[in-house]
Structure formats: structure tokens, C-alpha cells
């Protein structure tokens, strides 16, 4: 802008100072050439004086030759429209990035073609944007395409949206036309999750309300598009609450320095903070936050820093450093929205590589819940996914994935899928949460043989309905004692019951596992699978596992089947558990000899709504068993004795 250049002329040092401090807004434009998108961008660049003289010369020549805007006028669309080479090569798959600056802000504009391949392109462009400008042609109002664009923008979590109602010059600058479109759009947009929505009437061709305010529409009192883009506040959009530091690279120049380099994904980390490393569960403190420009007291997103820890613990690329009171959820099974980006359709029995933060994990798409028909906005069934499909899917991973939901955390809730053979990026995904795995589909291949004997047949024969009685609680909270006493009482009364306990499982099926968070999750997953087999044979299974994480227990519940999973919380104060500990496990944990010990070095997440809570420091084992039996009778798992 003129003021910009003036300052550069009169006081270059003040100008430099201003430009070194200004921030950046990343935005995208959605709309087709017909909506006047290219004209709008061209106008924005031109009126911000971001078009160089030689480009302007070319533009004038081209406007005279190919322009569609009439004699003497510049056809701004020619500034941005398809390159010659691009048309020849048939590249329609691309997002073009353009840059311009004003005294207030630098702008990075992701410009994606609005017609063909728009889903893939818009998703790509939107993934890094803070704001989207959606264009509507005032002659046609809210169209299917407007809705499509809005949905994609919403899906990708863009919080700020500007709807520019363009070509007002062709509608006699009519306020009625604008108001009608405005009402239609707002009505539609209530279904979408835009935090901040603005609408404005513009004429890209004439320049009204693009950079300068319109004189033709005195009834509009809001800002011009550029004024809005300069003012919109985006710095607080990031998640500053949940500290997530994905380790990207280990820096070890000599034996004295071991730093973990990475980009702060979310939250604020400070020197001296207590931290937990996932998945190992190892604990330490941040000793320093190192940069080339000196040590820092704190770091926040999207800073790229290097962290050193006070203790010598094993940390490598792909690990998460988090605060102990705020650990990322993890699960083998995720529920996610994906945009399919490959010309090759999804193959259900194929493994893909899931890339999220700094990790890569082999996964399979276990389920397609539905695809969204962008024309009607309706959900529909689908057997596979093809280019530009948007779908809700289940992801089954070979090991637990640490995640936050995309809605809460755009940096840790996103992923891409990569074909392991061609290395093509085939999909982009956003995590909605943990996937509740249906029992029928928990076998990823689906190739299980159907038994001729039903669980009901067995229940009739045995006179009991199988259930998994899942005892969770701190170490030494009384789980095993209660489990074995319960097994005895059930057996004595003619029931068939079997205890599945942690130490037993670890001596055989899980003997390859250690005690990291990841391994504990895996152990719980295996326990649930075994419990389910017991139940399928009609046996009551009494599972005694510390199982400190709610997400693991939820996964177990899904795996066993929610209707026969009975969660029982052995609730004893940690002091009591510790006093019963004759093996000194608590002592070793407190001395730092056990890296991962629920209640001491990592939190134990108490069940929020257990079927039964047993205050095991206040009641006897027999009393505990009485209460469990009463519950099982009440729920109809066993007949009253």
C-alpha cells in the first residue's frame, strides 16, 4: 500500500522495525473462476501494490489480447490464472501459494482450483490456514458448491471464515440481494463449526470492499476484505493448554550434551517442568530449552527448540514429551474423518503407513462408517474410498497411537496415510476419537469361521451368562485376593469361573512385554482378548489388572463386549497399598528404579463410573466378594444361590 512505501522512503529503519515485528495470516480462497476468485486475488494483489512493474506490463498486454473485461480495463484474473505450462501438463492437482504484505501483516494465500479435484486441493490448502474466504456469486446465491467448500473448510478445522458475496456490481449493488444470500448462508452454516463467520458484499472486478471500502454500497458498514484480513485475531487459535512435544531429532554433539529437538505442537513448556516421555513413561524434568540464540525460559507452538532433560533416560524420534497431569490419549483403534487423495482406491486388506507428528505406524482401515455425499450432504454407505471421497473410518493400528482429537488439537490430531509400496500420500485424516471396536469386526481380516454353537446355547447348558469381571486398582489394592476368593465362591456354588491375573499372563502370553505405557496397553489388550475367549466358551472370567489408563479399559470393554464387561474399582488409598507392599515395588518406584509405576511416576486414572467401587481398605475380602456376587446376581449373570 502507499503508506507502506512512504515509510520505506522516509524512514527505512522504522519500516524495517515494523516489518520485523508483524505477524502472518495464512488463508485460502474457495470458489471457482466463475465466482470471480482469480479476479479477487488479482485485485487484492494489485490494490496492495504487490504486482511488480514488469508483471503489470505483461498484464496490460495480456488484458488487451485475451482479457474478458472490456477495453481499457485490466483483467486481474490473468495475474493468477493457469500457467501455460500447467495447462499443457494437465496439472489440476495443485495449490498455488501467493504472498503479499501490508504494514500490518504478511499474508500467505493458498489458492486452489475450485472445480476439478477441489476436495483434495482445498483440504491441502486449508490444512495450514487460519482463515478461509468463500466466494459466492451474487447472481446465484448459495449453491451446492458453496456448501461443498464450506463443509471442507469446516472439516479441516479452519476457525475463521469470510463469505465474500461477489459481483454485487451485476446486481445493482442491491442490499436486498445481499441480505437474502446472507440469511441463506447463515441458516446453512449453523450446521458447521465455524468459530468466527463474517459476510461482506464485494465487487472484485470494480474493487469494491476488496482493499478499499465501497462507495457504491453505503448500506454496508463493515470492513473491506483486506481490512478484515488485517484485523482478524488468530494468535490464540492454537492450543496453549495441552503440552505436546514430539521429538523429531536427537542432537548429541558430544557426551556432555544430549538434546531432543522438535517443534512444540501445543501447550507451553517451561524450564523446570516435570515431564513424562511417552510411550516409555519415563519421568524427568526439563533442564533447559536450548536454541542457537540462547536458552529460553519457555517455548510454545510453533517454536522449533531443543530440550535437555535432567535425567539420562532413553528418548528417541517419535516419542512425545508431555506434562504428567496431561497425557495424550492412546489407542490401537481410532475413529477418524479422512479425505481420500489418491487415484487408486482404498484397499481394505492392505497396510498403510500412518504419519502423525513425528511417528510412522502401520495401520489398516478397519471400517468405513460412511462417506459424505458432498452434493446432498448426506451420509451414505461405501465399500471403498475413491479420489476426493470424504469418509468416516475406523483405523486399526499395529501399536497404540498417541493422539488428541483434531477438534481439540490441530497439531496432534492430524495424520496422512502413505501407500507402503508406491510411497504415495493417499489420504489425509483427522482424529475424532477412539474407535469403539465392534466385537464382530475386531478381527481385522474378517475371515473368522462362524461357530454353530452360540453363546446362548452355552449359557443355557451352564446355567450362567458369561461376563468378564474386570478388577482395576493400584498395585496391592487387593485385586488378586478378591479375584481368587471370588473364583472359589463361584466354583463352590456350581458356577464355572477362572481368574486371569496379571502376573500369570506375564509369565507366558505376555512374556515379551515390559512395563512401559505402550507395553502395559498391549498387555491389557491381550488380557481382554483372552477374557473374551473365556466368555465365548461360557466361562465367567475374573480379570485382575492394574490397568491404569481409562482408554485401555475402554478398549478392553469394547473388545469383550460392553454388555458383559463389569468394571470393578478396587479403591484403596495409596498409603495403604504402599504399606502392604512386601516386595518394595513402591519403594523402588519412589527411588526412581522403576520408570513406570502407576500412582507414583504416572497417574492412575480412576474409573469414572465403575459398576462397583470397593473401598478395600475398609472392608474384608469376603465382604468384597459378597458385594460382587450380589451385583452379578442383580445383573443376571448368575442365578441367585
Amino acid at each position: 500500500m502507499a503508506a507502506n512505501e512512504d515509510l520505506a522512503t522516509t524512514d527505512i529503519h522504522a519500516y524495517l522495525d515494523q516489518h520485523q515485528k508483524k505477524d502472518v495470516l495464512r488463508f485460502l480462497t474457495a470458489g471457482s473462476v466463475d465466482d470471480g476468485k482469480s479476479t479477487l486475488i488479482g485485485r487484492l494483489l494489485h490494490d496492495c501494490r504487490q504486482v511488480y512493474e514488469d508483471q503489470l506490463d505483461t498484464l496490460q498486454k495480456d488484458s488487451a489480447r485475451h482479457g474478458t473485461t472490456g477495453a481499457g480495463k485490466l483483467d486481474f484474473a490473468l495475474l493468477t490464472d493457469g500457467l501455460l505450462a500447467e495447462r499443457e501438463q494437465g496439472i489440476t492437482i495443485d495449490v498455488a501459494y501467493r504472498y503479499f504484505t501490508t504494514p500490518k501483516r504478511k499474508f500467505i494465500l493458498a489458492d486452489s482450483p475450485g472445480h476439478e479435484q477441489y476436495t483434495r486441493n482445498m483440504a491441502t490448502g486449508a490444512s495450514t490456514c487460519d482463515l478461509a474466504v468463500i466466494l459466492i456469486d451474487a447472481r446465484y446465491g448459495v449453491t451446492r458448491q458453496t456448501k461443498r467448500h464450506s463443509l471442507i473448510v469446516s472439516l479441516l478445522g479452519v476457525k475463521h471464515v469470510v463469505v465474500a458475496i461477489n459481483k454485487m456490481d451485476l446486481m445493482d449493488w442491491s442490499q436486498d440481494v445481499y441480505d437474502q444470500i446472507r440469511r441463506d448462508y447463515v441458516d446453512f452454516a449453523t450446521k458447521l463449526e465455524f468459530v468466527d463467520l463474517h459476510l461482506m458484499p464485494v465487487s472484485a472486478l470494480e474493487g469494491d470492499n476488496v482493499v478499499h471500502q465501497s462507495e457504491n454500497m453505503p448500506w454496508y458498514h463493515g470492513p473491506s476484505l483486506l481490512q478484515h484480513l488485517e484485523a482478524v485475531h488468530v494468535a490464540s487459535d492454537r492450543n496453549f493448554i495441552d503440552m505436546r512435544f514430539p521429538v523429531q531429532y536427537v542432537i548429541r554433539p558430544d557426551l556432555d550434551f544430549r538434546g531432543f529437538a522438535g517443534t512444540v505442537a501445543s501447550g507451553v513448556m517451561r524450564k523446570g517442568d516435570d515431564v513424562v516421555v511417552l510411550p516409555s513413561g519415563a519421568r524427568s524434568k526439563i533442564a533447559s530449552i536450548v536454541t542457537y540464540d540462547g536458552e529460553r525460559e519457555a517455548a510454545w507452538p510453533p517454536m522449533a527448540v531443543t530440550v535437555t532433560l535432567e535425567d539420562e533416560i532413553d528418548v528417541s524420534r517419535g516419542d512425545f514429551i508431555v506434562h504428567p497431569g496431561n497425557i495424550a490419549d492412546h489407542s490401537h483403534d481410532l475413529d477418524a474423518m479422512v479425505v481420500w487423495m489418491s487415484e487408486k482406491a482404498l484397499e481394505r486388506d492392505r497396510q498403510y503407513m500412518l504419519r502423525t507428528t513425528t511417528r510412522a505406524i502401520p495401520i489398516m482401515v478397519s471400517e468405513i462408517s460412511y462417506t459424505i455425499d458432498l452434493a446432498t450432504m448426506r451420509q451414505q454407505e461405501a465399500q471403498t474410498l475413491e479420489l476426493n471421497d470424504i469418509a468416516r473410518v475406523g483405523i486399526a493400528a499395529t501399536k497404540p497411537i498417541y493422539y488428541d482429537t483434531y477438534q481439540r488439537n490441530r497439531s496432534t490430531g492430524c495424520f496422512v496415510l502413505i501407500d507402503r509400496l508406491t510411497n504415495e500420500t493417499v489420504a489425509a485424516g483427522m482424529v475424532s476419537g477412539r474407535k469403539a471396536v465392534k466385537r464382530e469386526s475386531s478381527m481385522a481380516t474378517g475371515r473368522t469361521h462362524k461357530s454353530l454353537v452360540t453363546t446362548e446355547d452355552r449359557a443355557d447348558k451352564l446355567g450362567q451368562n458369561p461376563a468378564t469381571i474386570w478388577l482395576t486398582g493400584l498395585a496391592k489394592s487387593g485385586k488378586s485376593s478378591i479375584a481368587y476368593a471370588l473364583e472359589k465362591r463361584l466354583t463352590d456354588s456350581g458356577r464355572i469361573a477362572k481368574v486371569l491375573d496379571g502376573s500369570e499372563l506375564r509369565s507366558n502370553l505376555s512374556r515379551d512385554l515390559g512395563f512401559s505405557a505402550e507395553d502395559r496397553s498391549e498387555n491389557v489388550r491381550r488380557a481382554a482378548a483372552v477374557a473374551r475367549l473365556f466368555n465365548d466358551t461360557g466361562v465367567l472370567c475374573i480379570a485382575a489388572f492394574v490397568s491404569p489408563f481409562e482408554s485401555d479399559r475402554e478398549e478392553a470393554r469394547d473388545n469383550v463386549g460392553p454388555d458383559r464387561f463389569v468394571e470393578i474399582f478396587c479403591d484403596a488409598p495409596i498409603q495403604v497399598c504402599e504399606s502392604r507392599d512386601d516386595e518394595d515395588a513402591y519403594g523402588r518406584a519412589r527411588r526412581g528404579e522403576l520408570a513406570y509405576f502407576p500412582g507414583i511416576t504416572v497417574p492412575y486414572e480412576a474409573p469414572r463410573s465403575p459398576a462397583l467401587r470397593l473401598p478395600t481398605s475398609e472392608i474384608t475380602v469376603d465382604q468384597a466378594v459378597d458385594r460382587i456376587l450380589a451385583l452379578l446376581e442383580e445383573r443376571g449373570f448368575v442365578r441367585k444361590a
Binding site: N4, E5, A8, I12, Y15, L16, H19, Q20, K21, D23, V24, Y52, E53, D54, L84, A85, E88, I91, I93, Y97, Y99, T101, K106, I108, R120, A123, T124, A235, F240, I241, Q248, Y249, I251, P253, F257, G259, A261, G262, V268, V290, T291, Y292, P301, P302, M303, A304, R317, M341, M353, R355, T356, T358, R410, C414, F415, V416, I418, N423, T425, A428
Partner: protein, 305 residues
């Protein structure tokens, strides 16, 4: 909760963080990366960012300069001094066959000369050393066709850029997987503009080749611009006179192919001021783009940056 206003980063701070993230990602996922060093201002910024990425450790990869043997002499002396001072591991490669056959910008024309001495030399050097990732300092705002270039630009076994095989880039998740023989060109400065680069050089006090600053230099005036006579290999056309003029360069390349501009700007603020006020596309100082329509596109497909 602390006010999140306190946690904002400036444009330059965000660009710096993004570039460091990209550079680290390459170091972490590729077997044998290299940073292409062209001695220009963008290379200087890229190098500073790499130093920042691995501090306090040295760079975990070498630098490589493709020497066409027609670079300004000041560029070469700057390169050697700068790399020695900073302890960089520098590889210099040239097309030896081209040198033997005396390929030069006068006889072959800029197009053929650039292909042989720059593009072919680069491809041969990458193959010779087995590099699977090569950093370049290109920016998207430099030239129209670069607006769509990926940050991680995929190249096949012949170092060629296939528009249809480029991968979508979402968030800051980069697909770094390649098969043996294939490689990636990485552009950490993709989102920087010319103004950003100059501001950063100014702010960070990054050393640059003196040719960027105005001085009295021997030049001849040609329709394509002021060409500096850097050594006695320069061939004068009939009637051309060597004059001493106060000139500087907006971009640096091979001296017979890089036009100077008349300028009194001797300090960085003056250079930036001039850049803002002159408003000419940066690459108009470089002659190779004008060779033929869409020339940059063609060069890129062949493997030029």
C-alpha cells in the same frame, strides 16, 4: 491461564521455526542428505537456519556447490572463507567434461550452457555421492511457476520432476519416503519472500557476498542489462566499452549471465529500501528465464532448481 496474546510469534519467527522443522525432518528421515550451496543470499539464510536447527552440534550433512567455473570471483573467495570460518564440510563439483570441451556462456548460449554446466553437473554430482535428499534455497514467490512447487519435491531415478507424482502436503506432515535411487529436493525457504530474506539477513547479521552492495565495478552495457567484466574471459562485442559504474547485483549467478543494476545502495537498509521502491521482479536480473516461454518449467523438469 496466561493470556495467549503473549504467545504469538512474528512472521519471521514463524518462518524460521517452519524452516528449522523442515531441515530437521530431512536429517531425521533421509540416509544421505546434502545442502546445495549457491553462495547467494538465500543460501546464506538457509545455512543459518540449518545451524540453528542442530545447535550446538555441527551440521549433520555436507554442503555442495556446483561450480560452473563462471561464477564471480568474489563469490568463490567468499564461499571458501565463509565455509572455513564456520567449519562446514564443503563439496565442490563441476562438469569436468564440460570444462574439457570448453563449454561457456558465449559459444553455447545461456540455455545449453546452463544445462551442461549446471543441471547436468548437479545431477551427476547427486548420483556420484548417492545423496537421497538435497536442500535448495528456492522460494515460491520468486517465479510464477514456483507458486505450486512442493516443499518436498519428489524426483525420480533420473532426477526428474514429474508433476503428476508430486505428493500433497498437509499440515507439517511431510512424506519423506523414497525408494532406492529416487530422491527429494527440499525447499525450506518455500514460504519466504524476498523481503523476508532481506529482513532476516539484516536482523541476524548474516554475512553476504559484497556484490550485493553497490561499488564501482567494470561493466558493459547490453540490451539485457549491465554485464560485469569479472575476468579476461569476457568477450566484448564490437563497439562495447568497459565503464566503471556504481552498480550492485540483486541476484548472483554466472557473471556473463547476471545483469547488474545501477545503484548507490551500500548498506542493507538501503538495499531493502531500493528493493521496495524499484518494484521489479527479482529474477528479471537473471537472463536465463527469458530464453523461451515457460523456460523455468522446462528447466525444473530437467532437474534444475
Amino acid at each position: 491461564m496466561t493470556n495467549s496474546f503473549d504467545y504469538s510469534l512474528s512472521n519471521l519467527e514463524q518462518l524460521e521455526a517452519e524452516s528449522i522443522h523442515i531441515i530437521r525432518e530431512v536429517a531425521a528421515t533421509f540416509t544421505k542428505p546434502v545442502m546445495l550451496y549457491s553462495i547467494g543470499k538465500d543460501s546464506s539464510v538457509m545455512l543459518r537456519l540449518a545451524q540453528k536447527a542442530f545447535h550446538p552440534a555441527p551440521l549433520p550433512f555436507p554442503l555442495m556447490h556446483i561450480d560452473t567455473t563462471w561464477k564471480f570471483r568474489e563469490m568463490i573467495s567468499f564461499r571458501d572463507r565463509f565455509c572455513a570460518e564456520n567449519g562446514f564440510d564443503l563439496i565442490v563439483e563441476s562438469n569436468q567434461e564440460g570444462i574439457r570441451e570448453n563449454v561457456n556462456p558465449f559459444d553455447q548460449g545461456s540455455n545449453t550452457y546452463t544445462r551442461i554446466m549446471k543441471t547436468d553437473a548437479l545431477k551427476a554430482a547427486l548420483t556420484k555421492h548417492g545423496f537421497d535428499a538435497a536442500f535448495g534455497g528456492a522460494r515460491r514467490d520468486e517465479e510464477k511457476s514456483r507458486a505450486k512447487e512442493r516443499i518436498f519435491s519428489f524426483r525420480d531415478k533420473h532426477h526428474q520432476w514429474e508433476p503428476k507424482r508430486q505428493r500433497p502436503e498437509l499440515w507439517n506432515l511431510y512424506n519423506t519416503r523414497v525408494n532406492p535411487g529416487e530422491s527429494i529436493r527440499v525447499f525450506p525457504l518455500s514460504n519466504w519472500t524476498e523481503l523476508d530474506v532481506w529482513l532476516y539477513i539484516h536482523l541476524e547479521n548474516i554475512p553476504i557476498v559484497p556484490l550485493y552492495k553497490a561499488a564501482m565495478r567494470p561493466v558493459v552495457e547490453r540490451p539485457s542489462g549491465l554485464i560485469m567484466v569479472d575476468d579476461d574471459r569476457m568477450r566484448l562485442e564490437e563497439g562495447e566499452v568497459i565503464e566503471e559504474r556504481l552498480v550492485r547485483f540483486r541476484t548472483l549467478g554466472c557473471y556473463p549471465l547476471t545483469a547488474a543494476i545501477e545503484s548507490p545502495a551500500t548498506t542493507l537498509p538501503e538495499i531493502i529500501q531500493e528493493m521496495i521502491l524499484t518494484r521489479r521482479s527479482e529474477r528479471s536480473g537473471r537472463l536465463i528465464d527469458y530464453d523461451e516461454a515457460g523456460s523455468m518449467e522446462v528447466k525444473k523438469r530437467e532437474g534444475y532448481f
